[in-house]
Symmetry: C2
Subunit: 271 residues, 2 copies
């Protein structure tokens, strides 16, 4: 792993960093192929949106400059990039200065494995732990407050599953643990509306855009638990895995041919 803070190679951060004290920041995780960040403009766009919600003062030019320098230093890079924006060091207490610029952390995790844009999940289920309803102005933000995902992931690991459907406390299907989801319901593609909670994923946005261009109708709407039995096909997606097609949900067999056809049609192996 290679780490840089504001362009300087680092291994540590201050104990007074607000990311450590309060999770006061946001992040994005991108896939890098041959030193090129996939879906870069979407990641950048989301960083801007998150920064705005969190009132973080974020300089895009500084980030892009740091990325060019660090990528030239590590050369021919393949793997994962995690960008963390932290409000930086603070005093005791929640108050902060609006003027201070964010600290930019770049963490590169190399991988020698070939990416798998399409994969399958043999068995998927619905988790018992349910996520809450987010403070309205933090909805969709990929912030550093990720305890819900930590709890969900623990439940999935204990059950021996990799991904799972996550409900909220009002029994709406929201997303996967670390991905968004698309469902085929009564012959119609649907992705849950994320107006109360959940993460506004970059791959979700990319897929919705490609569907639109291919004239495939996809509804964004609230989906309640009682619709689970009507799911004919489904897949999860995130920036590192464009499509994870689900083969069974709670022993109910799904159509994974139709997801593969969609994958090919949308050319999800090309980002």
């Amino acid at each position: 792993m290679f780490c840089f803070k504001n362009g300087v190679s680092v291994t540590h951060t201050s104990l007074l960093d607000r990311a450590f004290q309060y999770g006061d920041g946001c992040f994005t995780t991108a896939y890098i192929k041959n030193s090129e960040i996939q879906l870069w403009s979407r990641h950048l766009n989301r960083l801007h949106q998150s920064a705005e919600c969190l009132m973080l003062h974020f300089d895009e030019t500084a980030l892009e400059k740091q990325l060019i320098i660090s990528l030239s230093e590590i050369r021919d890079f393949n793997g994962t990039l995690k960008i963390i924006l932290s409000r930086g060091e603070g005093q005791r207490g929640y108050d902060f200065s609006r003027e201070k610029e964010v600290d930019i952390y770049l963490l590169f995790f190399p991988s020698h494995q070939k990416a798998t844009p399409y994969s399958t999940i043999a068995a998927c289920s619905i988790l018992n732990n349910k996520i809450g309803i987010t403070m309205p102005n933090l909805v969709g933000v990929k912030s550093l407050n990720r305890l819900e995902q930590v709890v969900l992931k623990r439940e999935a690991t204990d059950k021996g599953i990799k991904e799972a459907l996550v409900l909220d406390i009002q029994d709406r299907i929201v997303e996967g643990i670390s991905s968004n989801c698309f469902l085929l319901l009564n012959g119609q593609w649907v992705t849950p509306y994320l107006g109360y909670n959940g993460i506004h994923g970059v791959m979700r946005a990319e897929i919705l855009d490609r569907m639109k261009k291919s004239h495939i109708i996809c509804q964004e709407r609230e989906v309640y638990i009682d619709e689970v039995t009507n799911i004919q096909a489904m897949f999860f997606c995130n920036a590192l895995h464009p499509m994870q097609a689900v083969q069974t949900i709670d022993n109910h067999i799904l159509d994974d041919q139709i997801t593969k056809q969609l994958f090919d049609l949308l050319k999800l192996d090309q980002m």
Copy 2:
């Protein structure tokens, strides 16, 4: 400030620390008078409850040992102690090992000012930003996911106020920004029920206990926004400030004699 991690003096933490990456941990903030931690058993009790909710493996004996050593090192200490329990370093991803023991951080902030167990807030109001509904098994936990408080504090600072009443998205009064609250409603002391969100404060628990022993009835119940006009008196409390009596809420004058009488009766200057 003096900082110790697992008994060793430190200034930094690893970038891979899960507290930094996900806010994966919890904390408590205690007041220390003449090297003695006030309400220690309550703080310890809450750390245990939080650790249990977060599935953190926490060794109480190790914490107590570290506290004795660090307090003997800094001597005759007066000020604030912040104890942070972090799940520690991890790999990329939300998954964690159940076996790993937590990292214990002790941060001592000295203060030469005398503590003010009783203080007044001239003008208080209700914030526009509302907190969400928490994932059920994280309710009450003083976790390191504190972005809601950061947003609330910003609004208060922009309005020039120090503390304020915080509603949730269902228009229930929950707490202050960094404190709990007690309200006198129709001649009856009430403190909001914290079953959906909010922090289970140690001073709140102490005051409830002292009220009980003094035969002062205090209801713990849901309080909705339409009851605000009926508030006759109110105060905020936390481990560093036992009573912050409110003099006006949204220009409506409150009875701060009755809060002072309660303060004296409960002997809140003695912890």
